[in-house]
């Protein structure tokens, strides 16, 4: 069963490898919205997200020959979008992980129970999180990467990823509770 998942859209991928524009467009149609949303969550602005997603698709189609079904096409593409988004943030010198000293005032015994869980409030809360916190919440909760993968993506230690995530989550709950 698992191997079947890896070969999702195999025909389209194979035809795209040989440069068939029609198949490439069909893959684009299938994944554009998901990829656009990922990039929007990472970057926050429409223009940046569009640029990054366009670049990612171009790079993906150009390097499709190196895709060997070790993952699904979707997660391969997603990783390109994530990496490009992170690089874009680095270029804009936006902090990927927040500096620890700014966060010392958050007491460890802060309330990490949510009063009422509400998706709209959570969405708003994620948007107003500091950049570094937002990235790690996105990567862990929404994109579904584990701490090992996040450490690779962000170039940080696994333990850093874990501690940053816990702080980010605490901060998010704080924000959500005040909304």
């Amino acid at each position: 069963m698992e191997t079947n998942i890896l070969y999702t859209h195999k025909d389209l991928v194979e035809q795209s490898k040989s440069g068939d524009r029609n198949s490439q467009y069909q893959l684009y149609e299938l994944y554009i919205d998901a990829m656009y949303n990922i990039s929007m969550r990472m970057l926050g602005t429409k223009e940046d997200a569009e640029d990054i997603v366009q670049e990612s698709f171009i790079e993906a189609f150009k390097n499709l020959k190196s895709f060997r079904y070790e993952s699904t096409f979707g997660s391969w593409l997603k990783r390109i979008v994530i990496n490009k988004s992170i690089n874009h943030l680095k270029l804009k010198k936006i902090q990927l992980t927040p500096l620890d000293q700014h966060e010392y005032h958050i007491s460890e015994e802060a309330n990490d129970q949510v009063a009422t869980i509400d998706i709209i409030k959570i969405k708003k809360g994620i948007k107003v999180l500091p950049d570094g916190y937002r990235q790690i919440i996105n990567l862990y909760l929404l994109e579904g990467y584990d701490h090992i993968e996040i450490s690779e993506i962000l170039g940080i230690a696994i333990s850093t990823s874990k501690s940053q995530y816990h702080r980010a989550k605490k901060k998010l709950i704080e924000i959500v509770n005040t909304l």
Binding site: I32, Y36, Q54, V114, I122
Partner: protein
């Protein structure tokens, strides 16, 4: 994993709230795939668009002109090649038909052998006709030319073999087959 995390993970799809501008983004991707890393200049300078179209018109005009004037030369060259091929073709055709005639008129041959030989020849003839038809479509095809040559070679070989047989039975040294 606590309830908060679980809740978010279960409602992940609700975070996909944006719709991509599909056609606009695809046109960028498509142009990116066709001409890597070129910035369309006319975006910056609209006048260039007009200049470019004038250039294209001039270019098209001069190529058409070039073809019209050089068309005769090319035709001449093609004619020469055609003529040469025709000469070679005629030479072999005469040779083969002459030998076929010889075989037909040879009284020493068994009618059965004759018939077999001629049927072989007919088969090769048919193959030859299709090859020739193919060649009029594209003159420069090396494979077809080679196949035609092979076709002739086979015929000559066949005739040679046959004549050799006759000669062996006649024990005579005086035969036209040695022309080859």
């Amino acid at each position: 994993m606590d309830d908060f995390e679980k809740y978010i993970k279960e409602n992940k799809h609700q975070f996909d709230e944006y719709k991509a501008d599909r056609s606009k983004m695809w046109s960028h991707i498509e142009s990116g795939l066709e001409t890597p890393k070129t910035i369309p200049l006319w975006r910056k300078f609209p006048l260039l668009k007009i200049a470019a179209s004038i250039l294209i018109l001039i270019g098209a005009f001069s190529t058409v002109n070039f073809f019209i004037t050089s068309g005769f030369n090319a035709n001449n060259q093609n004619n020469i090649v055609h003529q040469e091929l025709k000469d070679i073709d005629n030479y072999y055709k005469d040779l083969v038909s002459f030998q076929v005639q010889l075989v037909k008129n040879n009284p020493k041959l068994q009618p059965k052998d004759k018939k077999e030989f001629l049927s072989f020849m007919d088969e090769l003839d048919e193959e030859y006709e299709t090859l020739k038809l193919e060649m009029t479509k594209n003159l420069n095809n090396e494979y077809i030319l080679e196949a035609i040559v092979n076709n002739y070679k086979k015929r000559i070989e066949l005739i040679e073999n046959l004549l050799k047989q006759i000669n062996d039975s006649k024990k005579s040294n005086n035969n036209d087959g040695y022309i080859l």
